[in-house]
Subunit: 329 residues, 4 copies
């Protein structure tokens, strides 16, 4: 159904437990937060302001509010989470900030559509683009290559448009070959590194490469309800998952489970299976039969039925699901 | 220094670990969330919509935004957390919502001041009160009695002013004799039950007694970045702490530690010690000597130096602090 | 080019001059405002709160903010002014309020599309409809009949969705046969009566039928920058134009000029000419030749080239334009 | 009672009538707007973006929103219009933007109080200053000298705090000797030139000296409901009043009427009479007797009773009021 239904990976929980000892400074002034931020910077091989927040929706919205003014818009894939599935959070945190939906196969923004949007005349009657929001892996499990991402970013930057990268499943992209070290050189201004979908309890790392965007950042976060008092509990899972590379191992596992499911899938794939999701062409009566057989799935924006694998998905579960799919077909 | 510097109590962590097993519905549709909400309703002996969110700042701000429109104001003690220490979060979540600061000894709003504010003429040029925000225990560790709270609430309700109760330290108030079951009959519309300061990892229960205020509540929370995907991790600590009454036991301990400190305190108390905080009259050079001796404290809005006890404060620590205080005096 | 390029009609200016004498109460407490509000109520044969504000964009946005909460959306024609041409003002005044664009021929919302949008499942991840925004005459000069409007309103009301009527060109609709007295019985909650496009200096009447929505209305308007200090200057033009029916006479003239242009038009009409606008199929090189010949026009959202008539458009001008159009064809 | 109760001066109305001819580009692209902007720049001897908007409340709020982010605050005199009399408009347009009230005699901010506010430690829990809002003439009719204003501005600029000057009565200040040409060199970033109180119909000039703050300004104004379609009607009164210096002549007259009233005033003056307002010490029963005698006045924030002169106040009226005051004394 969703990678949000999974429990927390043992390494993340170990990190949490290890941090739960003694008294430490609140509001992010603790050594766990410092350590986790260092690990993020090492992982990206880049200098950056790093904060740990509770919500990916909020992290994305805060990032977009930092990049734009209310009379501007965010360019995003028409099916991007921030555009369709966050109840207008960018407009709420961004005070009326608009959204310009762009098409593109498999959740990747089409370069021509972006160029056309960026070429639109600017005037007082429209919310012109202030930022582009990219997602890797995409909502449909596709993975941008660094050059593909760089092409979109270059086009945006040429028009002074800021760049946000929604990394809710960035570890799945990394496990599929996307180089995390390329993110900063490509020109990303703000990155959200998803901990939650990667197998942690709720936590996301907000990574601001461009320090000018971090002016009074703690005040911004506090006002937005995203400066946790007991900050160590948002940082610690990252320590547990990053220190020995567990997070990539788990992401690779999730990707492998999706590939295994795809290989056994009796329904047509609507998108290439490049990371942890499998999107298939299935009519509703079939989907309901599957549900009756005990397997949850979700109907997605493009009409696909989605199966999502996580760190906790077992090969047995995949095989049983494949069997169920074959039997209801 | 603060009850936010303490680790998580064992019962809360046990609740968390117990919930970390198997796949459950995301976004609050899981059995842990249902169970924790039931426990909250039982504790309050009242029907209510209950949600578990990450941030007390956000919970308060969302509550006030639900009670007011942007062209209205919130009546609050001039030193209330929502008025002074949340970076304007009520104005951010409430889109310009104002704040009317009221005086009162020990953090309790003075009834006459409230009456005067409610009697102000209303016109198009001012933000008239749409809600009152009360805090129990107060910022200065004082505890409202039910009748005292009822008096303020009654005055507000007579003017159609909504009622928010910030319960960041409601368990400390309860341990000091405040009856939680009285909250609903007194007329509170929205209550925030603080888990974090009570010894849990970051989690707060948003309790909406008046169901009209809960219209499309999940959409409100999601847009505000406060609808956690893995909801079980915000509900589970409450289960661990409420099921066997641990939370009140811990709060009573924190209160007892404050009383122990007060009894040995060589500096004048600025506020009666009714719950977990001790506020004393101490000049800055003395405070710095204390800091040099390894003891953190904070200078508060009224000029007091604050010492805050938590579930994790030991009698030994209190005695050592008392000794240090006596030696630097 | 636009009815906004025209000067002010003599009756409106006479109203203004007549009001410019002596001292009167500010902020709408003056007798001119009272008189103009009475005339609006008479015209609509309905009780209502009436205010006069400077901006149609703001009037629409304030109305939608009154009808919705930020986590809700406004159903509107995909080419409605509020959806496409107000720089996201509803989201700004409504604090992130969303917009659900609906299709429909000639700017009229298609009943089936509305039904489908209203039937969408509601959940925490989407901004469900809180209001519908209708426009009469539409952006394409079409005029809703009362039954057609009533059908859409009825469908919305059945789902507890509030109703806003953007009447930027309501007098053109009225001159084309739409009965203004039907507006209230049809179920409209808030109406904006456009003065500006009707031949007045900038002024719009905000008409709130449902008094519950007018709670602390002056505070709402003041906070929104729409409570004019010298209110008489926004009310007076309405007096001049409503007292002897001039406004409808002028609107009928504008409509007649559009019909005259349509009759002589050598290009295909993209929309029926029911009020004051003529929308034609014209390629860009032809439009530029027309511009070179001294005639301004605008390319509209559906690709049409728009010619807009106003109270000040003369038959001679129409004939000369028709001649120019024929010559460049 | 207020300078908002006066009619429009003949030169302003003449400007309006002169502009009411022929068709001109809408949304500020007309020659009247260009001419009025030139006159404003000449008057200030400075380059600037100039726009004409309907509302001083909105102009101030838009200016402050351009200077600050929501998690910042505006330093303002505790009785400044923007702080006390605009229903929280800065917080609405600025999305939760805070206000830091500062004391000072006669509406002038006290330099020491400003220094103390600017010296406050910055952290994530408070809304630190992003702008200072100054008013000349002040709410109490006092006039800042250029050096006094420069001192405050210098202190603000040294901390990277932006500078807004509310010139609702800037012409009264100018008529009292304040040099308008000094405004830009003193370091003001955004100035609002009040037309309304100066004897025009509702119109204010928004003057942005720092062009970086004018990025996408028309979009900002349109979204805020402050980009008038028929822009000429907000520019034209300025042309009529600025072209031959009428505005200063009228302001000098208003100031002279205040001086005349002060000279005959039987009640103690609470503030020096430096421009057009007279503030006196009068108990409420006396004020009500005055009201019964047909003279409106208003009780101000400091407890004074205010008498406000305008371009339209006649010496006869002043003398009659003085007589009435003497008789009720």
């Amino acid at each position: 159904m969703s990678d949000n239904t999974a429990p927390v990976a043992p390494e993340a929980m170990a990190g949490l437990l290890a941090a739960n000892s003694g008294f430490v400074t609140s509001y992010g002034g603790d050594p766990f937060t410092a350590r986790a931020a260092d690990l993020i910077r090492q992982m990206l091989d880049a200098d950056a302001e790093v904060r740990f927040v509770a919500s990916g929706t909020a992290a994305n919205a805060v990032a977009l509010a930092a990049l734009c003014r209310p009379f501007e818009s965010v360019l995003a894939h028409e099916h991007a989470h921030a555009a369709t599935d966050e109840t207008g959070a960018p407009g709420f945190f961004g005070h009326g900030l608009g959204m310009i939906p762009l098409p593109g196969a498999h959740g990747r923004i089409e370069a021509d559509a972006l160029a056309a949007a960026l070429a639109q005349p600017q005037n007082g009657h429209v919310q012109s683009p202030g930022a582009i929001s990219l997602t890797n892996a995409t909502e449909y499990g596709a993975v941008y290559s660094a050059p593909a991402l760089g092409g979109l970013i270059g086009a945006a930057k040429a028009k002074d448009v800021g760049v946000h990268l929604d990394g809710a499943r960035i570890f799945n992209a990394a496990a599929a070959g996307f180089d995390l070290v390329a993110i900063r050189p490509l020109g990303v201004d703000i990155l959200v590194v998803g901990g939650t979908k990667a197998g942690m309890p709720p936590t996301e790392a907000l990574v601001i490469f461009d320090r000018k965007l971090a002016h009074r950042l703690d005040a911004r976060l506090k006002q937005s309800g995203q400066l946790p008092s007991k900050g160590r509990f948002y940082a610690a899972p990252f320590i547990g998952m990053l220190e020995d590379g567990a997070v990539l191992r788990h992401a690779a596992h999730a990707n492998a489970m999706a590939a295994r499911l795809a290989a056994a899938m009796p329904f047509a794939l609507n998108h290439p299976v490049e990371s942890s999701g499998v999107f298939v062409d299935m009519d509703e009566s079939t989907r309901l039969r599957l549900e009756a057989a005990g397997w949850a799935s979700s109907r997605f924006l493009d009409g696909s039925v989605r199966f999502m694998c996580s760190w906790a998905t077992t090969p047995q579960a995949v095989d049983e699901l494949a069997e169920a799919l074959n039997s209801i077909r």
